[in-house]
Subunit: 383 residues, 4 copies
């Protein structure tokens, strides 16, 4: 069975194409409809480029798309929609499609507020619809391996967690001609009440959760707006407690020169440690107490089967960003196919992709950080 | 304009899917026909998986495919065929399709002998058909940057070239259950007269050529067959001369434990040096004389435009093996579209992809190495 | 002129020998006297090993040493004393020697409390005596280069500072037979009121100061005692403000498996960044905005003269821990020789070694961290 | 017991001081006499600097030193002499001291020809004198670990050896003001008949032998003189056979921009591999077949005792070039002390330092390479 899906957004920026590739990588879904841009020409161009040939299924608005597709016979209409628009439109679009009965994949952040997120989750539960949120980095195969290693006790009881996600693009962009991204991401009307924390802090938090199953219970956060002329923070430093005596730091920045996209998570346990970095996202550094560090890589016999399953190429052949997206889509689509075959439902965790629930947790985290930053950097509980 | 292409082979192994993805990455070509396997069921399965829905265009043999497609109207039939079968069948398949007037993309090696290769080149010239050969690693964006840097004099006159391509898979495979690849690759009937040298030595040679424009003029080669029970060499060491006082070493191995796919090329000049390694294929280490080494990366403003053009994602987002293939297909398809639009021909080098001519050069190189190895490791001229 | 020096402590552990080597590396000082151990046999053995041949200058106590040496003619008696005993004895020993008129080199931490430190500084000023404190890592040649680069504006205005110093030795040691170091370092009677923060947090703080000239103005600190059975903290996380909108994180740990001695400091500016790590202490990663990162190394013509001066070997020859100590001693001894020649005094900063004043600043920092940790991790001003 | 030693040379360059430090690192020997320079002033200055205070033991020539010291009572005169002069004087100086009954440490190369070397070995055997040759890199502690791992079968039967030692200093030096080293090293009258091969190829060869116990049985060598105006080769490429089907490449260069002192050896076996690089000389990368690579480091419990014995500092504290020399001197001095105590002789291999025999083997290797280069790069047996 192959799924059909539509896309809202994607006519600008690079992320729409990443979703398209990710969804189609394992040929589980075919792009069948879309409302790629509010600019009519751009909309048609994108449709043509991406092979959506039926002009009746190129829509000038997401509402029209939802309404029209919902009216098509079940075997014709799209199974799910991918939402890849700017942050502030995720909530209304997702809500509209849920109400019309469509399964959803939404880029992160899920919404601008956790209330919006909770509403979306409630709706998806009521309607029995699958709702994935694309926390990209959780899709890397070796991250799955890290999760399994922690679960199986290979580092013992966790004692500390260090995460960072420094980027330089905003500062570079402000000094160069091409600051389009910088512009909308720094506009609270579009991005929401947080800049750096929501944009990439949430990636760090979701990755920690993916690997350890832990989320911050309370945080002290400090936001810096660099340069001062911007409207949202660009540098975020967080002291977090995960319960059971486990603490950690999270640093994320969009103004840290020398770093392109350097998400890194290190998990320390009583008998071992794990380090994953996006600089070589197919590697995992594993140290057992008083033994030499070991470098695990993808596509190896020694990996857990659940991690092996996410590898597509022979050892040493680089799988990158598209493939990480592909892994998230593969899990989502497989779950959806199973559901359509009556084998599964949203509460079954056989399929491992980030859901609307993870999206809400991410918003709780960001909201607690915003609050702590406003309260002179004192402890704030994460909902 | 979107091209239509067919595929011969691909129903087993991973490489067919890589070609499929590569060809479709930039939506320049659509898989429209195929003879994916001589096993009927496998053939149909693959067609279904990859979205070749017209059962009339799923063929039980490559001959049938060539014959039938050639008889279709020009706007319906495939524009080119991708050949991803085992080595020994490249020549007859390519020849058959050329004779029927199809453009070709062929996995390397082009053929088992240079005579076969020359015949294919002659045929493609006579017929005015584009013929690409997928030397994967030449497709990485930063490799294009390396080429431009050499060309523009940023390392001065070249004085030495060091290349290596160690792999461990064969030794690992022989010690594990899954030695399918090991089996056919070590069979001279299928692989041809050379194992390691043809399989991966040719990658090293083509990459050196891509970056420097130089090819070995003469070689001393030593082949080792490890373990001794195999029928083809698995470890190759080459001393090469490139003319103008430039020499270098090439080492390739399939039995070098600790290395997955570690192709590496280092070019030394009188005023600078360049190092590229497949371990981080988006990086280039550049050293100017008496200055600190610099690390160039993809998607940066400071790259040459021709290299920037091959980058699809923001800085720091990993593009890997699929994308390298995608770049080769992009150049090939763009050239083909231009040709169909009357703007180009095979002799125009505006589009930079490895051609049948490079495939022949690769065979000359392998043949000279085989000869030197048989002549007590003495110098042999490369044709 | 060659200086004569004595040593208190050193008969156990490795650090005495490091001081001995460091002091003698450039032949500026000769070990002439010592009270190496309270164990008489150990004392004599160490003296013999290290070439202190005059049995009259091997002392059974530091008091005896100070008294006796002070009574010797000026051209015979030691010029300075190196104090390498456990933390809790630094203060009384330093005080005693100052009172007798000796210049001092003291291992860090200077004392157990800042009051003790202030008293030592006051005394050294009154007596006009040089007082060095061996913050090892500030001695690396390339760290000097980093300082000069910041000073000369090569990274622009500083905007953020990230530092970490993870170690694993304590956790490894507790699980192995050899936990001697673990024992005394975890005893507040010997180590003072802080464990990890005083022991290695102070290294991070002093290194930040060395490179940037900045010290934390206020801190939020969180101490974790892992395992819980210990008496002092082993994991420390600090949020720091350096004034002028500059903030940063400091993480130090003695229970972080996978890290041996991995001090790392990263300084981010508006137009560039610097990264130094003890993993390769002869390297400096420098990124100018929108340019490729560069790797500076020691012994190169392109370094600032003040950094070149600290390099002893040709490029690429590793200088390590002994040499870093050697650089601190070289600056100290050169200053002392200049002083004895009437060319300098303690307030002159031509010679760049960490002083008693830096030692006090280090204690202020630790005390503020202790206080913040006790006050529910709220901001505490650093004196 | 502490040994007394003298030094010939050292008044210029850096290597004398490295020998001095190395010899004294573990306080096994004291510098007692010297003929540091033929320039009288330089000679005295160096003596004063290095603490040779007895003016009767500062000699204006090596002959005078040998003659005079030999006439001193046994408990007064030096035990051994360190020879750190330019290459062409090693042989006459060593011979003279051997004839006078002194044990020897000589910098490499041992002599200009193997005949000279054989004469020195014969003489040292006849006289029962210890003769060490300082192949620096064999002194690193983790190199000893590598040797033990190979010996104990941890990589299985060896199948291939790859070594390289690229440097850039000569090309950098020729383009800068400071080309002193370049001058004498490129003069055949001083350096002997080989430049790069003798100077650093010999380091690669000795390191391979240290780790594997194997020496090349025959070689194909190609020498390049870059720039052409020099008198000796600066770039060397060697294809070597070690017997038993084991082959390998060696590349050494003094004109390879981007490399400071990057000696690297990789040993491939049937069940594992080892990689050591001077870039991080305290690390060893070890891969067991189908397991993740492991990073061994110094000062760890898991090392072989013989390797642990060579580590002086806690884990993660860098020991570099001085300490590698220190290890060679420690083994040498310990052997000499044992010998003087009647416990050992030259044929006993309990103490592991490179000897005059290794020096000769190194000369055989260089001579075979010279011959092969002169014979159109054909195979030449190594004596």
């Amino acid at each position: 069975m192959k799924l059909k899906f539509g896309m809202v957004g994607g006519g600008g920026g690079f992320i729409g194409n990443v979703h398209r590739q990710g969804a189609q990588l394992d040929v589980l879904a075919v792009l069948t409809a879309g409302s790629f841009s509010r600019n009519d020409e751009k909309n048609k161009e994108t449709a043509a480029l991406w092979g959506v040939e039926d002009s009746n299924r190129i829509y000038s608005s997401y509402q029209e798309m939802a309404d029209t597709e919902a009216a098509l016979p079940e075997d014709i209409r799209i199974d799910f929609v991918s939402i890849v628009t700017p942050n502030n439109t995720h909530y209304p679009i997702a809500k509209y499609f849920l109400e019309k009965g469509f399964h959803i994949v939404c880029d992160k952040p899920l919404a601008l507020t956790s209330e919006q997120g909770e509403e979306l989750e409630k709706l998806s539960r009521e309607k029995g619809l699958l709702f994935g949120v694309t926390y990209t980095f959780t899709g890397y195969a070796i991250v799955k391996q890290a999760q399994e290693m922690v679960k199986s006790g290979m580092i013992g009881k966790i004692i500390n967690i260090q995460a960072e996600y420094p980027q330089e693009w905003l500062l570079v962009g402000l000094n160069a001609a091409h600051s389009d991204q910088a512009t909308w991401r720094m506009d609270p009307q579009v991005s929401g009440p947080s800049g750096c924390c929501a944009d990439i802090g949430s990636h760090a938090e979701s990755l920690i959760y993916k690997i350890t199953g832990l989320r911050p219970k309370r945080v002290i956060a400090k936001f810096d707006t660099i340069p001062k002329t911007l409207k949202l923070e660009t540098n975020v430093q967080i002291l977090a407690e995960y319960g059971d005596g486990i603490s950690g730091l999270i640093w994320t920045s969009q103004v840290a020169l020398g770093h392109e996209t350097e998400l890194r998570v290190r998990i320390y346990g009583e008998t071992g440690s794990l380090e994953w970095s996006h600089i070589k996202p197919w590697e995992l550094r594993y140290t057992k107490i008083n033994e030499p560090p070991q470098i695990y890589t993808t596509s190896r016999d020694y990996l857990f089967p659940s991690a092996q399953r996410l590898c597509r190429l022979p050892t040493g052949h680089i799988e990158g960003y598209y493939e990480a997206f592909g892994n998230i889509y593969r899990e989502y689509c497989t779950a959806l196919i199973a559901k359509k075959n009556g084998q599964d439902d949203q509460n079954d965790h056989r399929y491992d992709y980030p859901t609307v629930h993870d999206g809400i947790k991410g918003l709780y985290f960001v909201e607690a950080c915003i609050e702590s930053n406003g309260k002179n950097n004192t402890w704030v509980e994460v909902k």
